[in-house]
């Protein structure tokens, strides 16, 4: 009897795994973007990277790379305002940092804000759809901020909301222009371009490059990798491997150690997500080898390691200060001030060895994002887990 059960378990397990694999493959394929659209967006973001932003240089969250504005006179109201915010989730450290940034921004506007109502969709489209409906039908919001979980699924409900009150989106956007403005940064291609260009410029000729990726089929990581892959191909560099680590430190270390054992030496490691970078550095330490070029992101653990060890690094960012911008835009709209739109494109700083000192802060926790724009905000640094 036991034998039969074991076989049955085995067979159903096999079927399940094959099915999962097929789905994963299909998913990865649909995610691969159309090449002409990609080339267009790539060129657009590349141009934006060298464009000069408008606005105060010391306050990047108020800057914009496009000068177009939207007239908001029709939304003008007398304060105080009831602000509602539908958040996709706080399921990763970046979103945790960002949500604290937005709350701190709200404290700066105490006199204008009557309430900040908040709904966390916990990474579920259906929850976010009902959250937004509840805000709209509840009638207790003067403005709605949405950080959409996915673009397609949220588009119809955002269109419904637009008919009732002004809407601001940020981070991801939706497939409609009905929101007053969509706050965004330059984008994933710019991230990929920055890190890959640094590798191309600093890696010795014929050097060995390892590419580490988080997971297939996630739009933000796909665009980062598409851009980097293009830069590497154009420079005639063929990576010795492209590996998925699921951003798991143990797996990252294991993968890098195995590559070191296979190739003896690695000259550069490019990552599509900075949470892996310190694990990469540690794999080289444990193998008793010199650090290669290691790209990263604005997580403090990477910046501190980079500063301490002095290896060749670069940190493109996906700045968390956009959480401030979204709230500022919402208040501006209610005050009838023109806002940048229909896209408010924020600059996307790149941290290099030249400006590293400006971002690194040993008092901040390892998973804090340095491009939070939060240094002067109420409760800094304790609110973000830093030591005074």
């Amino acid at each position: 009897m036991k034998r039969k059960t074991a076989w049955r378990l085995g067979v159903s397990g096999a079927a399940l795994m094959v099915a999962t694999t097929l789905t994963a493959t299909a998913w990865a394929q649909t995610a691969t973007s159309d090449s002409t659209a990609m080339a267009k967006e790539f060129a657009y973001e590349k141009a934006l990277m060298s464009a000069k932003p408008i606005g105060p240089a010391d306050k990047p969250w108020l800057q914009s790379l496009s000068s177009a504005t939207v007239d908001t006179a029709k939304y003008k109201k007398a304060p105080p305002y009831r602000v509602c915010f539908s958040n996709a989730s706080v399921s990763n450290p970046w979103r945790v940092v960002g949500w604290k940034v937005m709350q701190a921004e709200a404290e700066l506007h105490k006199s204008e804000i009557a309430s900040l109502s908040y709904a966390d969709a916990q990474d579920k489209d259906d929850k976010q759809i009902s959250d937004i409906r509840a805000f709209v039908t509840g009638g207790k919001c003067d403005v709605l901020i949405v950080s959409p979980h996915t673009s397609d699924a949220l588009t119809p409900v955002v269109e419904e909301a637009c008919k009732v009150l002004p809407v601001i989106t940020f981070d991801r956007s939706v497939n409609t222009t009905c929101p007053v403005t969509a706050v965004r940064t330059i984008g994933g291609y710019a991230y990929g371009i920055a890190g890959a260009t640094y590798v191309v410029d600093h890696m010795p000729k014929g050097g060995k490059l390892l590419e580490l990726r988080t997971a297939p089929g996630i739009d933000v990581f796909e665009t980062r990798d598409d851009a980097a892959a293009k830069i590497f191909t154009d420079a005639g560099i063929k990576p010795i491997g492209v590996e998925y680590t699921g951003a798991d430190n143990a797996k990252t270390k294991a993968v890098v150690s195995d590559y070191l054992s296979r190739f003896g030496k690695i000259d550069a490691v490019w990552v599509d997500f900075g949470a892996m970078s310190v694990a990469v550095a540690e794999a080289f330490e444990d193998a008793g080898q010199d650090y290669p070029i290691i790209t990263g992101e604005d997580q403090e653990d990477y910046l501190q390691k980079w500063k301490q060890e002095g290896f060749k690094g670069i940190a493109p960012t996906y700045p968390a200060y956009q959480w401030r911008t979204a709230l500022i835009a919402a208040l501006d709209v209610l005050q009838g001030k023109p806002v940048y739109g229909p896209n408010w494109i924020l600059p996307q700083p790149i941290i290099t060895s030249a400006n590293l000192d400006q971002y690194v802060n040993a008092k901040m926790p390892p998973l804090h994002y340095a491009a939070c724009g939060c240094e002067g905000m109420p409760g800094y640094p304790e609110r973000w887990g830093g030591k005074p």
Binding site: K2, R3, T5, A6, W7, L9, G10, G13, A14, M17, V18, T20, T21, A24, T25, A28, V90, S91, N92, P93, R95, V96, V97, P216, G241, E243, Y244, G246, A247, D248, N249, A250, T252, K253, A254, V255, S257, D258, Y259, S261, R262, A275, V278, A279, E282, D286, D301, P365, P366, L367, H368, G385
Partner: protein, 331 residues
């Protein structure tokens, strides 16, 4: 059922066994994988290379050995992965990078493990809730506590002396040159687990409960207490695995995710029967080694990701089927 057991016991004379049949097939699978690894990478032909492989495999092996205590009673423990997350997050938050607080963090970690194990065990044994549901609930609660406590972004590093267990390697050791601390922890933990499982009444009774809980109860085995202790052992093994894993790789919010299934697969590959009653520590240990060797081999070959997942799945199922077949023919 009773009649069947009786005839089974009476009518079958002990069959003479060929020696090779008694070898757990997992050991053979592991040796084949290891040979392939050595063939591809010269590093793994050296003692330091093998030691580093063992170092990285330690958490999974300890976890799979601990999980086996629950599996042989016919239960599951799905909470171990998130328990690892909680242990790592707790150690980071308690110490905040301060090495003088390490011993407090370690005590707290084992305290958390003990509590989680006791709750799991009590609910399964006295509440009569199926273990798969109980521990799934525990998985979510423990993960929730970890997220709540850390606010979603762990604050603080693990101090160097806490990471020592998972990361440090003694150099210039005679014969093997390099000896990772994790390997010493592994050997120590396994010694305790093997002793408990094979050399105490407690271990033998666990197998009996898994084989036939009713018979065990009728013959006076304290079934509930046994079951509860099995969950406690599994949880304490998870804490140890968590300390090693956190030490090896540092703080992250995802550390430990998915390890519950890895540990279960490892045990099944090693011939531990999912519905209980059969299993050995040798099997669990070599199951863990086989699983890790498989990951390493696929890394070394450098398959593209989707193909790798497929191959990994097929090999896992094949290995489990082979072991199940072998234990089937023996009955």
């Amino acid at each position: 059922m009773t009649a069947k057991i009786l005839t089974h016991a009476v009518s079958r004379p002990p069959t003479p066994r060929v020696a090779w049949r008694r070898i757990n097939p997992t050991i053979v699978i592991f040796l084949v994988l290891l040979a392939a690894i050595c063939w591809i990478s010269p590093l793994y032909r050296t003692a330091p290379g093998l030691m580093s492989l063992l170092q990285r495999a330690s958490p999974v092996i300890i976890l799979s050995a601990g999980q086996t205590f629950v599996l042989v009673t016919g239960g599951f423990d799905l909470s171990v992965g998130s328990l690892i997350t909680l242990v790592v997050v707790a150690c980071a938050l308690i110490t905040g990078g301060d090495g003088s607080l390490t011993w407090i963090a370690l005590l707290a970690a084992y305290g958390i493990g003990l509590t989680v194990g006791l709750i799991n065990g009590a609910i399964v044994a006295w509440g009569k809730v199926p273990s798969i549901i109980t521990t799934l609930g525990m998985l979510l609660s423990v993960k929730g506590v970890a997220m709540l406590w850390s606010g979603g972004a762990p604050e603080g590093y693990l101090p160097v002396n806490l990471r020592y267990f998972g990361r440090y390697v003694w150099r210039h050791v005679p014969l093997i040159q390099r000896l990772p601390v994790a390997v010493v922890v592994l050997v120590g933990s396994l010694a305790v687990l093997v002793w408990l499982f094979h050399f105490t009444n407690f271990g033998r009774l666990l197998l009996m409960i898994g084989d036939n809980p009713r018979a065990a109860e009728l013959s006076g085995v304290p079934v509930r207490r046994q079951r509860m202790l099995a969950f406690v052992i599994s949880a304490l093994a998870a804490v140890t695995a968590g300390i090693l894993l956190g030490g090896f790789s540092g703080v992250s919010v995802d550390v430990g995710t998915g390890y519950e299934l890895e540990a279960t697969s490892a045990a099944v590959i090693g011939g531990v029967v999912l519905l209980g009653g059969e299993g050995s520590m040798t099997g669990a240990i070599f199951g863990g080694l086989t699983l890790y060797a498989l990951f390493t081999l696929l890394n070394l070959i450098g398959f593209p990701e989707p193909l790798r997942v497929a191959v990994q799945g097929l090999i896992l199922v094949a290995a489990a089927a082979l072991t199940a077949r072998r234990s089937g023919t023996r009955q």
